[in-house]
């Protein structure tokens, strides 16, 4: 069941040089209990998508996003973009929670870990006694694998290591058992061995709470490990959306293919020439007409300047490339 449906999401920013469309018609669905990976390079709109869903974009530079973001958990159904601001407070943290890349800047340095955990509980469960809140907070810290939680709860963020802080962030996000967890590059700032711990933890908690996770990352290795479905984004648009095996085994979009070929893997021959995607992402002010990838695409043709619409390749596999059929055939 689709718990979150994003339809034609457009987010524009007003800048000194005019308005910029950071997201230009993004569509995807997030299924209950599954993990959707949002992949792409810096500036492709991954984080703007997550902030648009949470309605956390700063005003007035970030105009309110247009389109639809439908939340539907079976009993409750509404469009997040049309909700009045006071209702948002009930959604954030309770229904959709978020963890960020850098836990040190997203935790408040002047409050203890326990205070910040209980703050979330206070907002959403005003009738809970403070004794019960403390017990719950300790329980949450235990769940995320923090040793000696009764002592750690009185500590400040700077007293914890990077991995511990990210665990605390996860504990705060899970305090009210949300249905959706948005994780914006949660392991990018961590070392590989710590990253493995955190990914392990997230998988276990997902199973336990049956949450849907929107996992934003640029690391394709992490995607292969964590995600059920993948959305590849390029310059504010979804290039390809498919189950994870499809993306890695039968990529259709030239950009997805390029990305997969350009990473050195453990079995890549040493110092052999790596595949390069020519050039770089165009400036958002001077995007080409039609397909935004055309000036870097090895298969670009005249019709790529026409407006593109996502095409269904297979059940659940969508690609927005006008030539995907021809390209596939050429290779076979």
């Amino acid at each position: 069941m689709a718990i979150l449906t994003v339809k034609n999401l457009v987010t524009t920013f007003q800048t000194d040089r005019g308005s910029v469309r950071a997201l230009d018609g993004v569509d995807f669905t997030l299924e209950k209990g599954r993990t959707l990976g949002l992949v792409g390079e810096s500036g492709c709109g991954k984080s703007v998508t997550s902030l648009s869903i949470m309605r956390l974009l700063p005003k007035p530079s970030g105009n309110s996003p247009e389109g639809e973001i439908i939340y539907d958990d079976g009993s409750d159904r509404f469009d997040i973009l049309k909700e009045p601001t006071e209702n948002l407070l009930k959604i954030r943290g309770r229904k959709i929670a978020m963890i960020f890349q850098d836990p040190l800047t997203s935790l408040n340095p002047v409050y203890t870990v326990g205070y910040q955990l209980m703050e979330t509980l206070k907002v959403h469960f005003s009738k809970m006694s403070s004794q019960a809140m403390f017990t719950r907070a300790v329980e949450l810290l235990t769940d995320v694998g923090i040793p000696a939680p009764e002592q750690r709860i009185h500590e400040y963020p700077h007293q914890l290591s990077g991995g511990m802080r990210q665990r605390v962030m996860i504990a705060i996000a899970l305090a009210c058992e949300p249905d959706i967890l948005i994780a914006d590059e949660p392991t990018t700032a961590l070392d590989v061995t710590i990253q493995a711990q955190i990914l392990d933890l997230m998988r276990n908690l997902q199973k336990k709470n049956d949450m849907a996770i929107l996992f934003i990352t640029h690391d394709l290795g992490v995607v292969a490990e964590m995600c059920d479905d993948v959305c590849v984004m390029y310059a504010g648009k979804v290039a390809e959306h498919a189950p994870v095996e499809e993306i890695f085994n039968h990529p259709q979009h030239p950009y997805t293919k390029g990305l997969l070929c350009s990473i050195p893997k453990l079995d890549t021959e040493q110092k052999s020439k790596l595949f390069e995607i020519e050039g770089m992402v165009p400036d958002l002010f001077s995007m080409p007409e039609g397909c935004r990838f055309q000036n870097r695409c090895p298969y670009a043709a005249e019709k790529c300047t026409q407006p593109q619409s996502p095409a269904q390749v297979k059940d659940g596999h969508e690609v927005s490339c006008i030539r995907h059929g021809e390209i596939g055939r050429n290779e076979e």
Partner: protein, 343 residues
Amino acid sequence: MNDGKKLLLSVKNLKKHFPIHGGVFYRHMGNVHAVDGISFDVHQGETLGLVGESGCGKSTLGKALLHLHPPTGGTVEFEGVDIDTVSVKRLREMRKEMQMIFQDSMESLNPRMSVGSILEEPFIIHKGEHEFDTAEMRKTEILRILEEVGLHESAFDKYPHEFSGGQRQRIGIARAIALKPKLVVCDEPVSALDVSVQSQVLNLMVRLQKEMNLTYIFIAHNLSVVKYIADRICVMYLGRVVEAAESQALYEKPMHPYTQALISAIPEPDPAQQKEKQVLEGDVPSPIKPPPGCHFHPRCPHAREKCKEDAPELRSIDGNEGHQVSCHFAEELFAKAAKPESR
């Protein structure tokens, strides 16, 4: 395997400790043991990879090799000359042969200087040591270098902020190779770049190495990248080398428990190939008070009493000079891991 290749850099028992001061009288309160007794040799034309997690001392080691951090103990010999004993003037001359590429190209390029003057600076500093005496000659040479690293001529008059991250890294590389050095220390040169740009920069570095017979010390935390570019790899943990080997051998049969965990933790970009993970408990301890004995013992799944007291030496395994491990029980553990069915 290095027969015939010239020994370029020889590091012996290198140490770098940073003092910590504090309290009312700014007392000396202890030391950060950033690099704690490291030895290795690098031959000309080779790439040595240094891997490890943050805080293991890889960047400090890189800087100590170039004498940007004067070492606390031990020696660094470059072409047979101990760089700690030479005069400042001689060191400056030697720096022409040893250059560095930094991780953050925005911070390592002066924002107020045009690319042309950034690249001209090395020629001015080392005046008289190269043939480019006049400004015109230098300009021709700089334009040639710009082309070499894949930048347009028009870059000459632009400023660093006008470029993207990948292009700025190319400028950093251009500056490092301008004087045709022998050794380039690359401190996380591609970590800040997106994957599609990362492959462009890696290809460039491999091509330059072949053309100019460069020797790289390649510092990174991304093990797939290091395996791709390095001939030999040193794995570091808390200021010490725990394992050193040819890169193929290191990934095929890692001997040290830390290397094994590190390699198993790399997320492989292939959903069909998900291996069983060996997840390490806990965090890296503080380098101010590293644990006694083997630094890795508090996180090691195989730790025994001996590990808590005796620090293991880096020693060759199986009579193979190229593969060194610092673990008391490496042979035993490896034998166990190789034949799991017999247990």
